[in-house]
Amino acid sequence: MIASRARAAAPPRAARITVLVLGAALARASVAPAGEGLAAAVFAALLIGILAIEGVGARPGDRPWPLKRSILSGLGVAAVLAAPVLWSASAGPAWPPIPVHGAFLPWAAAVALVASLEEATIRGTLQQAWRAEAGPVPAILCGALVFAAIHLPRYGLSVMPLDLAVGLALGGLRELTGRVLPCAIAHTAADWAAWLSA
């Protein structure tokens, strides 16, 4: 009862934030022909802008997990997400193999930045806004849908089910721990596993 009153009183921001996040993905896709680095920079800048305008949603009344436990949970989820990648890599080189020209650290730093900004925006701001307006489960679903949709222009339809599943997991992790940090850790570590599979 109290929760539904709080939802009704909350100003409607969820749909607006959703439009902003999807718009950032569209901008990234439109800039991509000029270079992947530039596209990622534009995307990151737009996400920072959204975070600056909307802020990271807090959950009044909820107690987030302790920091150490949150970090461990993020690492645990990362291990489960990356396990198939590492399993494939241990069986032999990826097919087709991807020659890598460059150092791991700059690439890893860029990936960590983009992944963390995505998590802060989607799980921290967007999911919390939908949570305030529609409840936790619709919020997780909406976050997962947006997470899959923003990757659609780049990876195509075939990857959407996998991204939806991972979005569900990360949304659940956010709701369970009350923090964005474990989601950012899991997302970043799962991305880093790509280097090992190359």
Partner: protein, 240 residues
């Protein structure tokens, strides 16, 4: 209750992700940037890249014969690594008395073959050749070999083999996550290239898929934009 629902969602998502890794050919990661790559080395670069372009490299490797079989291995163009070839044991066969086989990868920069009907060549054409030692004698193919070719950009159709008169499509696999490589299984020596879609009309399914990938996000922007607009109008009416 809320924690239980969150834990259930987390478990369901992880389970689905693990299953989808096994049953689909989806990339093995969820996001991130493509792995870092050096600029593409063109035979004939676009005008804007002419000043910075380096000519593409060649590759060569010698595979010895042991117990009558040519030992397999890898050969790649160095240092640009734009083409990587993997040859299995006994996949190449020389005449009697062969002591080794030399496999070469050469960019075909002079008079490359014309593009196939309905397609365009993305990047360079490469010639894969092999000779038996001693005497540089011809070799035959005992089993198909694998090749990975980099392409500069474009809408990839497949890798194709040119036999001197026409192009033949090969079973091809795109590298995951936007990394600009295509793999293929090649049944014979010859010239290979990554072929892209031309402006020719595609099937209805291809067109629908392309529109969904291109405009799916835009459609969601419009849908959520309408929701936001309706919410704002309602809010203002309530205030009034």
């Amino acid at each position: 209750m809320r924690r239980q629902a969150a834990a259930a969602t987390l478990g369901l998502g992880l389970l689905l992700a693990a299953l989808l890794h096994g049953v689909s050919s989806a990339p093995p990661l969820y996001d991130g940037l493509p792995l870092p790559q050096a600029p593409y080395d063109y035979c004939n670069p676009p005008a804007s890249l002419r000043s910075s372009n380096k000519p593409p490299d060649k590759g060569q490797a010698t595979f010895p014969v042991q117990n009558g079989q040519v030992l397999g291995g890898g050969v790649q163009t160095l240092p640009d690594a734009q083409v990587v070839v993997f040859i299995g044991v006994d996949a190449l066969r020389g005449p009697a008395g062969t002591s080794a086989v030399v496999v070469s990868i050469d960019p075909v920069c002079q008079n490359p073959p014309p593009p196939p009907a309905g397609g365009q060549i993305l990047g360079n054409v490469y010639r894969i050749s092999a000779v038996a030692l001693p005497g540089k004698q011809p070799v035959s193919i005992g089993a198909p070999y694998r090749i990975t070719i980099r392409y500069p950009s474009g809408n990839v159709r497949d890798v194709e083999l040119y036999d001197g008169s026409s192009w033949h499509p090969l079973r091809s696999t795109l590298a995951p996550s936007g990394n600009p490589y295509v793999g293929a299984v090649v049944p014979s020596l010859g010239e290979v290239a990554v072929i892209g879609h031309s402006a020719a009309p595609d099937s209805l399914l291809t067109v629908i898929t392309r529109y969904l990938e291109g405009f799916g996000v835009l459609a969601l922007v419009i849908i959520f934009g309408i929701i936001a607009l309706v919410q704002e109008i309602r809010r203002r009416r309530k205030r009034a």
